[in-house]
Symmetry: C2
Subunit: 341 residues, 2 copies
């Protein structure tokens, strides 16, 4: 890893953590439901905002839920499979974009400012990409576990919501292969334009997806598939999802690659993403299929397909509105408003 003390860890240690996941705070959830019923509006009239305030209460295990310190975390990694020419952009763009995040020139910087969220960028060994998953596993056990542990470090104390996204040239190829291995179907079902590939390049991408999934599918549980087909940033996102569960920090997942990384965890425990929302529906076509496969409905649908946590950051504003409505609205009694006739 670059710029960090790589924690030592193994996937076996991480698997043992996953055997003791905390569940939702049922008391906080019940308190949210009781308060929601008294607020001055027709029952259910705030739609998904009501769902979000209940979800925040349950997974923070706190009532009323709080949103003072949202964090947006972008994990950047490079991919051996990029050498197959599966992306519209050269691999050096990953590092160039990290520099752009740091200097404030990317979309996610602007969105974070507009929703008043803290942005952190984590780069994972950009000079040493993962191995090409068409030829063998993308990561060895220690590499995958260290990337997961690195991702866990993004969930610092005091954070009350974390939005997870990624940057990595060729990483939709990795996401597609991972989805194909996890959920089956055809390579074409899961392979799309990414940053904008078409024609021969798209055909090469589809071939890499098919070959990678054929080589690795059935090789083990979700962590094993993540190790073999994911990238460092995928492992880091999965690690952050796990750490957030223990730290009682609800999670917003960005588009296709971030959702695919998290989806691998469902093969370990089908409830492992209950503390996560899909922030937005990506325009990358496979994202809709993936959301359906994991039974989650994205909060926003704005035709975005940029990655870099830009959609997840935007959804922070929706969660904030939900939390503020829940905490700040008057009850019918307090407002002196007549109830239904």
């Amino acid at each position: 890893m670059t710029d960090t003390q790589a924690p030592s860890a193994s996937l076996a240690e991480i698997r043992s953590m996953l055997a003791a996941l905390p569940g939702p705070g049922e008391g906080a959830r019940a308190a949210a439901a009781a308060r929601e019923a008294r607020l001055v509006k027709p029952a259910g009239a705030l739609g998904r905002l009501e769902e979000l305030s209940s979800w925040m209460a349950a997974w923070q295990d706190r009532h009323p839920p709080r949103l003072r310190r949202p964090r947006v975390a972008v994990f950047a990694g490079n991919h051996g499979v990029a050498a197959r020419g599966v992306s519209a952009y050269p691999a050096e763009v990953t590092r160039q974009m990290v520099a752009n995040f740091v200097s404030g020139g990317a979309a996610v910087n602007q969105v974070c400012r507009s929703v008043d969220a803290d942005l952190r960028v984590y780069e994972l060994s950009l000079e040493a990409p993962t191995a090409d998953f068409v030829a063998g596993p993308a990561m060895d056990d220690g590499e995958c576990a260290r990337a997961m542990a690195y991702g866990m470090m993004a969930v610092e104390q005091g954070i009350d919501l974390i939005a997870l996204g990624e940057m990595g040239i060729a990483n939709t190829t990795s996401a597609s292969a991972l989805c194909l291995a996890l959920f089956g179907g055809e390579a074409a079902d899961w392979t799309g334009p990414g940053t904008g590939v078409a024609g021969d390049r798209l055909a090469r991408k589809r071939e890499a997806v098919a070959a990678g999934a054929a080589l690795h599918a059935g090789s083990g549980d979700g962590l094993e598939l993540l190790r073999r087909l994911g990238g460092f940033e995928f492992a880091a996102i999965a690690g952050a999802v796990v750490a957030a569960r223990f730290a009682r920090v609800p999670v917003l997942l960005d588009g296709f690659a971030a959702t695919a990384a998290a989806a691998a965890l469902l093969r370990v425990d089908p409830g492992l993403l209950d503390h996560c929302q899909i922030a937005h529906l990506s325009a990358e076509p496979a994202h809709a299929r993936l959301c359906a496969a994991i039974g989650k409905r994205p909060l926003l649908d704005l035709g975005m397909r940029l990655g870099e946590a830009s959609g997840a950051a935007l959804a922070v504003g929706v969660v904030r509105a939900a939390v503020e409505c829940h905490a700040g609205m008057a009850s019918f009694d307090e407002a002196g408003v007549s109830g239904p006739a």
Copy 2:
């Protein structure tokens, strides 16, 4: 009108205004397109955020577009048709909710705080509801024109986006009748639960919608239908839409009632809502039908059905993110990022 110097106006004067509507700023729109193409992201990757920054530039006639002073305006009115028992709530709730807006206890207060928007509440003659549209026109010419002129006053100088919503017990009945008269179909197509009516009450609501539309449809242009079937808050919203066009202030329309009020203007000029976006898709079923009828796709779909501009206020945050991305992102050259291979 309460609490205001009622401006004197006639619908004929307003019709003459509508003959000279300003169009989009084509120079600003072209400048936005040129800048967008250089920003450091794959073309189109910000989806509707790109559409929104272009739309803001065109209708503000300014590049880059600006969002420093968004206003959320809620218009409140009472309806004679409420006496037919078409709502789940008694008519006095309109005034009670206005008091709640003023004291800060409503959902829209919390949403406005969360998106840093200014909230103004305009009450229109709550002690003297419109006439029952089943028996005759809801408003006379002067009443409708004065309500429109009052709505125009919400578009004050310096505002750079306005979100329009309403409060008015029984006003989905009025919206349904107006839509039926404007777009045809059956009363059942346009009539839904509103604040939560069902059974006998829903049947009464549907009957009022059918009877009102039968009495008034075909009686004249959109302003005439607005006068006959709308309410004071509908006329005020239509007035604000018109004033915003002249003041170069883009508009976000809230749910079913606000969209219905604005839709009446399309019967005067089919381009009259080009400076408006539908902020969110209401869970009131007729809203989807109405959006399809006027060819607009809502920005958000969060199952909200509260009115009071709560969904429109939430969308202010989306527009802000769009404007900030457009203005603040680096170009490929500035960021030193390689373009597509």
